[in-house]
Amino acid sequence: MELLLASGIGLLAAVGIFLMLRARTFDVVLGLTLLSYAVNLFIFATGRLSIGKAPLIAPGVEPSLSNYADPLPQALVLTAIVIGFAMTAVLLVLAVRGYADHGTDQVDAREPRA
């Protein structure tokens, strides 16, 4: 599983970065979304992988890392996901506004000369 997750994160990051280097605003937003998936998963992964050990304290189970997944990266990622949405929203309206004002969705707001 570790290798699956690691390679998945790598692929998400690679495609995300590739898209961020494109010349159109919407593509950059798509790339950033993929990159934030990768980053969120990466932060989450620093807590290591565990299956069936959700950090919900159950009576009679000693509250330690051997019985529960690491809750701290989860808490960090939870807010990161929501903030990621907020950031995506801001970028999208900037893209919309840029297109409305400049008539092009090129990232530098000017069409390259042919």
């Binding site: 961020m20 494109r22 605003t25 890392l65 809750p71 929501v82 949405f85 309206v93 919309v96 409305a100």
Partner: protein, 925 residues
Amino acid sequence: MTLALIVILPFVAGAVLLATANAARLLSATIALLFTIAAGALLALQIPAVASGAVLAAGWDWLPLPGARFGFRLDGLAAMFAGMVLVLGALIIMYARYYLSARDPIARFYAFFMLFMGSMLGVVLADNLILLAVFWELTSLSSFLLIGYWQYRSDARQGARLALTITGLGGLALLGGVLIIGHIVGDYSLDSVLAAGDQIRASSLYLPALILVLLGVFTKSAQFPFHFWLPHAMAAPTPVSAYLHSATMVKAGVFLLARLYPALSGTEAWFFIVSGAGLLTLLIGAYTAVFQHDLKGLLAYSTISHLGLITLLFGLNSPMAAVAGIFHILNHATFKASLFMAAGIIDHESGSRDMRKLNGLWRLMPMTAVLAIVASAAMAGVPLLNGFLSKELFFGETLAFEGHRALEFGVPLLATLAAAFSVTYSMRFIHDVFWNGEPQGLPRQPHDPPKWMLVPVAVLVCLCLLVGILPNTTIEPILQFSAGAVLGGPPPEFTIKIWHGINWPLAMSVAAMVAGAIFYLLLQRLFSLHDIVHLPRGGKELFDALINRSLAMARSLTGRLQSGHLQHSLAIIFLIATVAAALPLAPGLSYGHTPLTPVSLPAVILWAVGCVATLSIAFLYARRLVALVAIGVVGLIVSLAFAVFSAPDLALTQLLVEVVTVILMLLALYYLPFESPPERNSPPRWRDAMLAGLIGTGITAITYAILTRPTASIADYFLQKSLPEGFGTNVVNVILVDFRALDTLGEVTVVAIAALIVAGVLRMIVPRVVPEQPEAGTYAPVSLFLEFIARVLLPLAILVSLYMFLRGHNEPGGGFIAGLVIAVALLVPYLASGAKTVEARLPLNYEAILGAGLIIAALTGAGSMLFGHPILTSSYWSPELPVLGKIPFATAMLFDLGVYLTVLGGVMLALVRLGKVHAPTREGN
């Protein structure tokens, strides 16, 4: 307390002046004068105690650990200097009232002036070396403001910048030196440092400390080779020059020489550096002054030369020379301030400072002429004036100096030469301005100024005469009591007399007078002094070149990194990040050996689907709708991954965010081209793909390495404390709303700000694509089926959301998730019926919800502070209610309610605003 008040009063005056900036001009001057007099009176009250030999001190701890105290100390030297600063300050305040024109903002002038005066008093009275360095920098800053007072003039701005850079850098060096001294002594208080002279001189760090301190001194006191800022500071209004370059700013440097004399002097290094710089400065300044055509330029170089003289005296390592140095500090302050003010009067009344035009003013402004001539004579060292006395002492000290034969012979000779130059430029000032023919094309017909402009000059000139004629009764007691403080012991026996009989110093004086006069005549008759252009170059040019070069370098580097093309800039950022990440991994990345989690078939299938979806985006991104579907799939897989790896809260959040994100993108896409055009002119795609692939591989390797290494986490703490101290079993939620609630507060604030940005950016937008509008008043559901579902779904969804919220502290859920749930549910009617219909039925103000959420979250946090706990401390309350039984209730839940409302308001605000983009344009039409 009184001591602190002396320093603080001018600062208070500055604030008062700025607050009454629109008051009458006379009022501003009066305020400044009254505060100065008050500080002076406080100082005067302390003088008897100081004169009897006491050292007064008062202060409070400021930064106890590094040993910085906010303390002040008054001894003879400090009292003398503070007196000089205040007396000259008061006179110049009077003078400036008449000097500044009606167009100049006078309150600002006086505010800066008082700020400077306070800083200078702080330097003089500081009891602690660190505090002294702080006030030292404050004098640099406030002098910057004063020199650049006429901010519309480019020479004023450049002069101010030059002065600030040079003296500011010197201040940094001084701070370094002071820290070293404090390190050697173990204490920064002046008493300890002054008593530890032997310890400091014996230390191996003595030389670095000395050099750093002297860098501060030399830059401030305009010693060679840092003297070049001073002539450029002449762009300041003349009252500023009169203050900064006679009594205060430049004297701060020599003050420090005197202050630290017991701690640092007496070594060979001290002698060579201090007296060497002093001698060079004395000569260069005096010689250059002769050739200045600008009145203030002449005075500026003369100031440099006199500062050199004082520095030289302190460098000679003899107690009597130090006394002479202090004497000359006072004398120079009096005659130079009066000369600057006289030059200001001439400039003010005639409209020019050029000595090639200013001639024959004796008949036109006789009062000014008398005062200026006496002051110049004092500067030249004519008998019966104060300048003569200190010059005689100076000559005597150069003769008394014992050392190498060449030095014993050379120092007096060079001193005489410099004195001859000073006679020459003083003669030039007198003869050129007041005689030497008629005025040449002056803008105005000059005449004597208003009485109150002359009074300050007259007071100072009288002082020159008084000290010059009656030294025993006037200046000797002051010198006696300040010299003791400088030397850190009883001062040498001395009396100051006008007539010592015929001796070597007198002979040197006579020689300097004669040589100076002959030199002036020669220059006048043979070379036509007015035609000689002698503009010293070097310092300013070097400085400008340095500044321009570094600016150009910064500009070119920035231009290369941030070309204004996003693709280029991003590629560079990614490249640098890659290098920065790869460098520490260069020796090789080691993997750990923790047992791996077993692979299951469904996991592999999900992984494969995710990979295909991700890769398909890379190839199909130009077809945006398809890419959007694929990104939805990827988000779903990520959410499932969270669910598989024991993170139910994350899985829920990711799922809900994915829904709103896709809807948001879909909305945005409506106003954007549906397809990316084929790329032209951009860097080849394979290069981006290589970079992206490289980074992806690296991230895979690092992630795998982390996953296989054993973990050492602080998580046990959270797991153990969650229930007993956070009152919840869902540790993730407890972390969010309790342990790290302050972070969460910041994060929901970010969400709120982002939503407001969205609303702001979409104001007054004129979209390229205008959506079709249903006629007003007609009812046009987008989809009857969807609308029916929505009606049934909404109440249910609200219930689910509440349930998620209420159980969040113990089970997966909480404010974030519940807020997202209700947002998703609210979106359905929007999609089904359109915004108009929904808002008619369900008038929700999302800005208000957003604001209410933030306020609740912040107030809950502050609430715990009311009970004396740190911010956002949770308390628990479990009321026993009839029927329902025991209801757990932690205040953290109230905080979570704030999160809930903020997330709901923020998400809905962003989505609804984007969905209603057409509205303003129709109003605009």
